[in-house]
């Protein structure tokens, strides 16, 4: 055995240790596609959106004051939104106002979608042109933001929320923010 012929093995060993460590990180919930949001700990952007459902109130920045609010961006055209939709009901009455924002959608489509799949939201608005979404830093629905009583964004979930995220992240944080 000479040193040169050990080189490929040494290289491979280094590579494998990176892979192992990355998988350990995934195991701990740190996914490669999680990108830390620059909006965390910042004041939620200014917005004033019309209601999605007729004869209901719209949704604007001032509504955030004094309440813990969970803002969920969804759309009738989004497949993953349907996947998370059934879990949203688990969050109702747990100390946070559930606000839905129908993102870049046609009102009629959004209304039909809610009628078909149920409406867990306390307040629901439509962001027709996606401007509010852009201000929030949404780059793909579904995205969920947890906002405290002062209107500061405290948590962001990219992609669908799951039962694990609800019990491990959202509910404890809502509880803490309500103190």
């Amino acid at each position: 055995m000479n040193k040169l012929s050990l080189l490929p093995l040494a290289f491979f060993t280094v590579l494998v240790s990176f892979f192992v460590y990355r998988l350990v990180l995934i195991e701990r919930g740190n996914m490669p596609k999680d990108i830390p949001s620059v909006m965390i700990s910042k004041q939620a952007p200014e917005f004033n959106l019309p209601p999605l459902l007729k004869n209901k109130a719209g949704f604007k920045t001032a509504d955030l004051k004094g309440k813990v609010t969970l803002v969920s961006f969804f759309a009738s055209w989004c497949v993953d939104c349907l996947a998370e939709h059934r879990y949203l009901a688990d969050l109702s009455g747990k100390g946070a106002v559930l606000a839905g924002i129908d993102y870049k959608d046609v009102s009629a489509d959004g209304q039909v979608w809610l009628k078909k799949n149920g409406n867990p939201y306390d307040v629901i608005a439509i962001d027709r042109d996606g401007q509010t979404g852009i201000d929030f830093g949404v780059y793909g629905v579904p995205e969920t933001y947890l906002i405290d009583k002062q209107g500061v964004i405290r948590y962001k979930q990219t992609g669908p929320i799951t039962p694990d995220i609800i019990t491990e992240k959202l509910l404890p944080l809502i509880k803490e923010l309500n103190k």
Binding site: S5, R22, I26
Partner: protein, 649 residues
């Protein structure tokens, strides 16, 4: 019942794989013919079992048996039959069964066609192949069982991603897998040779056809995927340097190096340990690609449902297969006696040169692909490595390779005459220079003019240089045409193959330069009757029909009149499709292909005010990319016909 039969076959195949992995190896060590001869029937039996399992899965898809979870998640009754069948490999579990099927196809082919191989080598190679197969069968049965039942069965399935419902993509995975799984055969032979401790010219000759076949399929597979991306994704791009693309491109680069290196082993009986290492690396890169794509350690536009548990299993498999073979390499490689050092100016010198640059290129792509992972793990932040990195590192590595290509082909084995080669290539150099000047003048003021001019010069250099090399081989300039013809007929197929494949490189360069540097893009909102000028074409939106029905989608169809200089050229009909299950929209670009360039029209969303968002591109020479790639694969196939690969031991 059929699903259970499928699973049963997979389990039986696992048992056969075990037998095939162990006994022929013992037989070869003891020189026991009876034990060695188990390899052949076992390979065939294993293939039949896996093929039956694959057939069972296909049956579940065709009959839309939604009590099988895999079918429920990926199929739908409304899907056309063709896509029900191709849906079998449009998901993780099914594609792993296809992977395994191809692994056994190669083993069975070696068992059936490898009659000219020495018994010991064949037994060992089939045994190693079966070890890999054993690992993958374990993986499928324990983490990716496609036959899991669902109770209660849903009324209908979730459907297949509409982007995958395309004839181009239907055949992309099987061909791609025939390529990079095919490198398993070169790997198995290399390990068998390491165990035997003997690598010689005959060995190189036996292994080469299997490497060539895999390489041809991989070339076709990558090209097919690129072609699919080009015409369905609606952005006119054909290569994105995405991790999944790189996962197939790295084995291709290493495999290309392997083909060149094994030629040296065959002719000069040297560079042995390097060639063995390349065979290991090439297949390792295939395995690595599978790991990267399916474990979720990297983000990619290609979404296989990633699962860390699978990641752990594949990583373990990687450690055993690659780690094990590298340990064996470290122990055995020093004892592989290589021939004497060779002259730098010679055919083998040129092939070594090609190997240095091809491996460096593969290494660059590996670094770029894994860099986001390294950065993430080392807490350097989340980065993505995009085309700029690959273009600035990869392209310069190709330059020396292209320059050397026609020269190397003219050098003789052992001792080449560089002066004579250069003298012969003088016309090619002059023509290349003329091409550079023409481009510099015609395209003056355009961006990246230096690259464009140099690229065209290079293409002309290769094209004329390779032609001159061929003319020299048949003594075309010596006046006697009849003699030349006779010589041409006597040339081995591998020489034709080499010339064809290298010529493909010239076409590829032209296509890449044209489409990446001179492309014209127009994105706008168009109203009916409006005209947009793109390059030399006037594109007029005549009509959009909405609400048309396809088999499992509704679609809008645009009608665009294309004129050039007042004369009507053609009418184009791009479509925008909205699939029902799963609800997703796709665009079907309308493309008018000519050798000079493609006109590419996409109908995207409406602005709800009577306008349509349209994207119109003119991509000069883009078809030459695919022609070039077809020449690569074609050259490989012609080479495969060479008589010397069928010679008896």
């Amino acid at each position: 019942m059929i699903a259970e039969l499928g699973l049963f076959c997979l389990i039986l195949a696992l048992l056969v794989a075990f037998v095939q992995a162990v006994f022929p190896l013992i037989g070869a060590a003891r020189n026991d013919v009876a034990l060695m001869s188990i390899a052949k029937p076992a390979s065939i039996l294993q293939f039949l079992l896996v093929a039956t399992a694959f057939g069972c899965l296909m049956y579940c898809y065709i009959t839309s048996d939604f009590s099988v979870m895999n079918v429920a998640e990926n199929s739908h009754t409304d899907k056309p039959l063709f896509y029900k069948i191709t849906g079998v490999w449009g998901n993780h579990e099914g594609s792993m069964v296809l992977w395994e099927l191809i692994l056994t196809i190669y083993a069975a082919s070696v068992a059936l066609l490898g009659g000219n191989l020495p018994a010991g080598l064949r037994a060992r190679a089939l045994s190693v192949q079966s070890m890999v197969s054993f690992g993958f069968l374990l993986f499928i049965i324990f983490t990716s069982n496609p036959f899991l039942r669902l109770d209660p069965a849903p009324l209908n399935g979730n459907g297949l991603n509409p982007l995958l419902q395309d004839p181009g993509l239907a055949f992309h995975p099987p061909i791609l897998y025939l390529g990079y799984v095919g490198f398993s055969m070169a790997f198995s032979f290399a390990i068998a040779a390491l165990i035997e401790g003997k690598v010689d010219a005959a060995f190189a000759r036996w292994v080469r056809p299997w490497t060539l076949a895999a390489w041809c399929f991989l070339t076709l597979g990558i090209t097919g995927g690129s072609w699919w991306a080009y015409y369905t994704l609606g952005w006119g791009g054909w290569w994105y340097w995405d991790p999944t693309e790189n996962a197939s491109f790295m084995p291709w680069l290493a495999g290309t190096a392997l083909l060149h290196a094994s030629a040296v082993v065959e002719k000069r009986d040297t560079m042995k340990s390097w060639t063995i290492l390349l065979a290991i690396i090439t297949f390792s890169l295939s395995l690595l690609g599978t790991f990267l794509v399916r474990s979720g350690v990297l983000t990619s536009v290609h979404s296989f449902a990633t699962d860390p548990a699978r990641g752990v299993f594949i990583l373990a498999l990687l450690i055993v297969v690659i780690g094990g073979s590298l340990v064996l390499f470290a122990i055995r490689a020093p004892s592989l006696k290589s021939g004497a050092l060779f002259a730098p100016v010679s055919r083998e010198g040129a092939l070594l040169f090609s190997n240095i640059f091809l491996s460096a290129a593969a290494g660059t792509v590996l670094l770029g692909t894994l860099y986001p992972l390294f950065a993430d793990v080392l807490n350097l932040g989340k980065v993505s490595v995009g085309p700029p990195f690959f273009n600035t590192t990869f392209v310069p590595l190709m330059v020396p390779l292209c320059i050397a290509m026609p020269i190397g082909a003219l050098l003789a084995w052992k001792r080449g005459n560089l002066k004579a080669a250069l003298r012969l290539l003088k016309p090619a150099a002059i023509a290349a220079l003329v091409a550079v000047i023409i481009i510099a003048v015609v395209k003056t003021g355009t961006t990246s003019l230096i690259w464009a001019a140099a690229g065209f010069g290079m293409a002309v250099w290769i094209l004329i240089g390779m032609s001159l090399g061929f003319a020299e081989q048949i003594h075309l300039f010596k006046g006697d045409l009849k003699n030349s013809l006779q010589r041409a007929l006597k040339l081995p197929f591998s020489f034709y193959g080499m010339t064809i494949a290298h010529t493909g490189m010239a076409f590829l360069i032209v296509g890449i330069i044209g489409s990446s540097l001179w492309r014209v893009e127009k994105i706008q909102i168009m109203h009916l009757g409006e005209t947009v000028k793109v390059s030399d074409y006037d594109v007029t939106l005549k009509d959009v029909e909405n609400g048309l029905k396809g088999p499992n989608y509704t679609f809008s169809r645009g009608t665009f009149d294309i004129t050039s200089g007042g004369k009507s050229v053609t009418v184009m009909h791009p479509e925008k499709r909205l699939y029902e299950m799963p609800p997703q929209s796709t665009t079907q670009a309308a493309i008018r292909t000519t050798l000079m360039g493609d006109l590419y029209v996409v109908l995207a969303d409406t602005d709800d005010k009577g306008g349509y968002i349209t994207r119109i591109y003119y991509d000069p020479f883009v078809i030459w990319i695919f022609i070039g790639a077809a020449f690569f694969a074609g050259g490989g196939m012609v080479s495969l016909l060479d008589r010397r690969y069928r010679r008896k031991a």
